[in-house]
């Protein structure tokens, strides 16, 4: 088992990072009247961990007995019926799905799953009708239509089930859904908190941590706890005992993007643009989400850029990110950004150096 999973806090009491939130959640669940919940925050901040802990608090250790299924739903969509296949994780009391995986058919999935859950409603020991919990991942990636239908189903079936929504950015979740949920913002842990967690793990694993080593990992992790722990484990595999000057392995895709950035800075021509496109394709083939590619690329470019250009470049990056969301083929828009950057940078070079 990876350390990330091994040292994941199982209950709300054991949570180390967002203790105050955990405390509040525990009180909430104890009062038996749990509203719909919306967890949002950057990745690697502990949303999933908290959700799992909440489920455990609600249903006891039964919530941990999950099975993974590839399920198919038959959906009547007007004239024809669709088959939608999704991976679900479910226990007796909850189902977890990522409806955005169904692409533009996501709206059917949400409705269908909730309807089905409402049909077989569990009855608890006291004879009271209980409720099930549906965990929806990546709500922000749902299409507008899906969010709309989610809103309606939420109202209609709120007696039978509770929804726990999880996403990175609440700004892409519609107002209507946000107002029907208790919003829980999970901040990215600070570097000190990450440091604490790493030291705790080190202690439990019985490792010797040279001074400053864990701090370096924490610094490299971009305040992403999961990433920090994964990196920590990788370092452990690569070299132990640790030395304080040990290299911390970088992510390969980030390396790749910084390579692209230096390519762009070196030459600005259609030919180079074509080469860059090839490298971008390499990233996309490996399922790196295009938004992250664009963000990282901007980050890398800004590092090397003259201050007076930064503002304009950021503007265009935002512009093309927006268009990427509107469009379908991300490469068109990333490439347009690269071309725009090249164009700006080239005229800048000509203006300064002649």
């Amino acid at each position: 088992m990876l350390w990330v999973d091994k040292y994941r806090p199982k209950t709300l009491d054991h949570v180390t990072v967002h203790t105050d939130i955990a405390h509040n959640l525990k009180k909430l669940v104890k009062e038996q009247d749990c509203p719909h919940l919306l967890f949002y925050g950057p990745s690697g901040s502990g949303k999933k961990t908290l959700i799992m802990a909440v489920l455990r608090q609600m249903f006891g250790s039964g919530a941990e007995k999950v099975k993974v299924e590839n399920r198919t739903w038959k959906v009547d969509a007007g004239s024809r019926s669709l088959d939608i296949e999704l991976t679900t994780l479910s226990s007796t009391n909850h189902i977890e799905i990522s409806p955005s995986d169904a692409g533009f058919q996501d709206r059917y999935v949400v409705q269908e799953v909730i309807k089905e859950m409402a049909k077989n409603r569990p009855i608890d020991t006291k004879g009271k009708k209980g409720f099930k919990v549906l965990v929806l991942n990546d709500v922000d990636k749902l299409s507008r239509e899906a969010q709309h239908s989610l809103r309606r189903t939420m109202e209609k079936y709120s007696a039978y089930c509770r929804l726990i929504l999880c996403c990175n950015s609440s700004s892409r979740v519609t107002e209507a859904i946000r107002s029907r949920c208790l919003n829980v913002r999970i901040n990215a842990p600070s570097e000190e908190q990450i440091l604490d967690v790493l030291e705790l793990i080190g202690k439990k694993e019985g490792l010797q941590l040279p001074p400053g080593f864990a701090a370096r990992i924490a610094e490299k992790s971009n305040r992403n706890l999961r990433r920090a722990i994964l990196t920590f484990e990788t370092c452990r595999v690569q070299q132990y005992p640790f030395t304080s000057k040990q290299t911390i392995p970088p992510m390969d895709w980030e390396e790749h993007i910084s390579e692209i950035a230096s390519d762009i800075m070196k030459e600005q021509s259609p030919k180079r643009l074509f080469q860059v496109r090839g490298k971008l394709y390499d990233l996309l083939i490996n399922c790196i989400p295009p938004e992250m590619v664009l963000k990282r690329l901007l980050h890398e470019l800004l590092r090397k850029l003259d201050a007076e250009l930064k503002h304009e470049v950021c503007h265009w990056a935002a512009y093309y990110e927006h268009r990427m969301r509107l469009g379908q083929k991300a490469i068109f828009h990333i490439e347009a950004f690269v071309a725009k950057f090249m164009s700006i940078y080239k005229s800048f070079l000509i203006a300064t150096f002649g």
Binding site: M1, L2, R8, S43, K48, M52, A77, G78, R80, T87, L89, E96, S98, S100, F104, Q105, N137, D138, S143, E145, R226, L230, T231, E233, T234, V237, Q238, P249, M251, D252, W253, Q268, S269, P270, K271, L273, F274, R277, Y281, L284, I285, N286, C287, I288, P289, M292, R323, L326, G327, Q328, K329, I331, F332, H333, E335, A336, A339, K340, M342, S343
Partner: protein, 604 residues
């Protein structure tokens, strides 16, 4: 000034109105007349039909007569004093001798000698008794066979396509116990009969046995793989075992690189028949010169004075289809008014002559009302867009009426049709046009022109956004969707044309297939495989792909499989899946890339 204009408009309107009136009255007359005539004709037809139990073919002929009568009726209304046309000219001027055939002499000679050899010699000398004639529609395949047969004194015996059974008819018949047989089955049994027993000529009552040519003109329509396989088998058997000289006519539809399933089937059929021993002759489209000869001859015989320019034009626009050319000539000669209006619409007779002096405007894309629409292949169209040929030279006057365009936004006029028209002719999906342009456009940009590259890619992005609006609306096709799609394609194409502000001098370029398609496919596949791994690694919660790809995968690579809890079964199952899927993938890609490599664009 304005007053005068007004007056002119009024008067012209007046004229229009009167002409309309008169024409409508004319029209009414013709209608009544023609209907009465046709009903008479139909009566006649029925009478004759009941009297002599002739085959269904005659009915069709009679129908043709009706059709003619309608035609002649309209001719009367036009007020011409010419003789009534009895038949369509296509039938009237059917070639009767070898000299009259517009097909290339050598091809005719080939076919003739082939039949001669087989008819003269005794049976069983030749193993292959099947001739495969291919060519696009209207190049005179059937006509050639008929003429040659009559030249050799042989009788053409043909497979006549049975009339289709309508569903209602079938329901009606099913009560009487007749079973429905598909046309393919009927064809099969016909071929079977011919193969085993030869042809029994019941109608012939001569002394000596005449020589026979079997003509299979119209292959039954096949839908789906199994039906096609049946047809193929039965034809192969025919090729192998028939004793009668047989001609199978295949009509090429469009260009070979089209993705149309039927076209590919036809190609396959051709190959398989050839491999089993059929002799193949391909008829080319009829050349402009021989077409002109035929048309002029018809003009002479009809005594209508069509100027040489128009004959020339008809011959050029017909795209090598002589049947079409003759019909359009007949249509053209029908109403002298039409010629007049046409001439006025193209500003004047004189200007047309002038235009014909300039080769670049008259031969490409000048189409009359009756010209055949030419189809372009995808690659031809892409080539046009990418090469971006424009008028050069100083003497280009800008449209004075149009609004002023800033220097950096103005472009030289295009040396091609309107892009939308080209798109229309190429029959492609807007999405794939955008993909193809995106893949290839950078090759055609100047090395310094990074700003152009931005313009182009930005417009392609616009097109993508428009196309993405359709996502999720697959259920119903509506008008707006079509408009959106064509708008997207138009933006993509025009963006490419506009963005490339100073096109390179043309040189040879290969057009690639969009790599994007491959990328999408592979990433989708990877997504699937990785998803199988997730449950193995993580028991508690599923992660979205992005987290898997950006955080877990790189680390797992470094860790090796050791640290991760890969379970036995999942590991076993995932390579299996890999094998299966990848084979399929590869096959698919190979097939498509092969198709592409043939179609590299040359400079034109």
């Amino acid at each position: 000034m304005s007053k005068r204009n007004c007056v002119v408009i009024l008067s012209s309107e007046d004229e229009d109105a009167t002409s309309k009136l008169s024409s409508s009255s004319n029209y009414k007359k013709t209608k009544s007349r023609s209907t009465s005539a046709s009903s008479r004709g139909r009566k006649k037809a029925r009478a004759s039909h009941s009297r002599s139990h002739l085959s269904k073919l005659h009915e069709i002929d009679l129908f043709g007569d009706d059709f003619n009568e309608v035609f002649t009726g309209s001719e009367v209304s036009a007020g011409t004093q010419r003789s009534f046309a009895e038949e369509l000219w296509v039938d009237k001027y059917k070639p009767n001798s070898l000299e009259e055939l517009a097909v290339h002499k050598k091809k005719v000679e080939d076919v003739k000698t082939w039949f001669e050899e087989r008819l003269k010699s005794s049976k069983g000398v030749y193993n292959n008794n099947v001739l495969l004639i291919s060519g696009q529609a209207g190049v005179g395949k059937s006509a050639a066979i008929h003429v040659i047969a009559s030249h050799l004194g042989a009788i053409v015996y043909g497979w006549n396509t049975p009339t289709p059974v309508i569903w209602q008819e079938h329901l009606y018949n099913s009560g009487t116990g007749t079973q429905y047989t598909s046309k393919l089955d009927e064809f099969e049994s016909f071929v079977e009969r011919v193969r085993k027993y030869g042809l029994l000529l019941t109608s012939y009552t001569g002394d000596s046995k005449p020589s026979i040519i079997l003509l299979i003109d119209d292959l039954p329509m096949t839908n789906g793989k199994s039906a096609f396989g049946k047809l193929k088998n039965c034809l192969q058997l025919l090729v192998k075992s028939t004793q009668i000289p047989t001609a199978i006519l295949l009509t090429d539809c469009g260009n070979a690189d089209s993705v149309d399933y039927n076209a590919r089937c036809l190609e396959e059929l051709k190959l398989s028949l050839e491999s089993s021993g059929a002799c193949k002759v391909a008829f080319n489209p009829i050349t402009v010169n021989s077409m002109k000869k035929v048309l002029l001859r018809i003009c002479q015989m009809e005594r209508c004075d069509v100027t040489a320019e128009y004959v020339d034009l008809i011959a050029k626009t017909s795209g090598g289809d002589i049947r079409h050319a003759i019909t359009s000539l007949q249509f053209f000669c029908l109403k002298p008014n039409l010629v007049h209006s046409l001439a006025s619409s193209t500003s004047s007779h004189v200007s047309l002559k002038e235009e014909s002096n300039k080769p670049d405007t008259s031969d490409s894309g000048y189409s009359l009302h009756f010209g055949r629409d030419e189809a372009l292949s995808l690659f031809h169209a892409l080539g046009k867009f990418l090469h971006n040929k424009r008028e050069t030279g100083v003497g280009i006057e800008y449209d004075q009426d149009g609004f002023l365009i800033r220097e950096r936004l103005s472009r030289l006029p295009l040396k091609m049709d309107v892009p939308e028209k080209i798109l229309c002719q190429a029959h492609v999906q807007p999405g794939s046009v955008a993909d193809f342009l995106h893949e290839n456009v950078l090759d055609f940009l100047d090395d310094e022109a990074i700003h152009d590259a931005w313009t182009v890619s930005s417009y392609l992005g616009d097109a993508d956004i428009l196309l993405a609006k359709l996502r999720g609306m697959v259920c119903s096709y509506n008008e707006a969707e079509g408009v959106l799609q064509s708008a997207a394609a138009s933006i993509a194409v025009r963006g490419v044309l506009f963005g490339n502000s100073n096109p390179l001098s043309s040189r040879w370029h290969a057009v690639r297939r969009p790599r994007l398609w491959q990328v999408e496919k592979v990433s989708f596949y990877k997504n699937k495989v990785d998803r199988l791994r997730i449950p193995a690694c993580k028991r508690f919660s599923s992660y979205h792909m992005s987290i898997m790809a950006t955080e877990y995968m790189p680390m797992l690579k470094l860790l090796g499989n050791r640290a991760c809890g890969y379970d036995g079964p999942s590991q076993k199952s995932s390579p299996n899946l890999e094998m299966e899927d990848f084979d399929f993938d590869k096959m698919d890609l190979d097939e498509q890339s092969m198709g592409l490599s043939d179609d590299d664009i040359e400079d034109w």
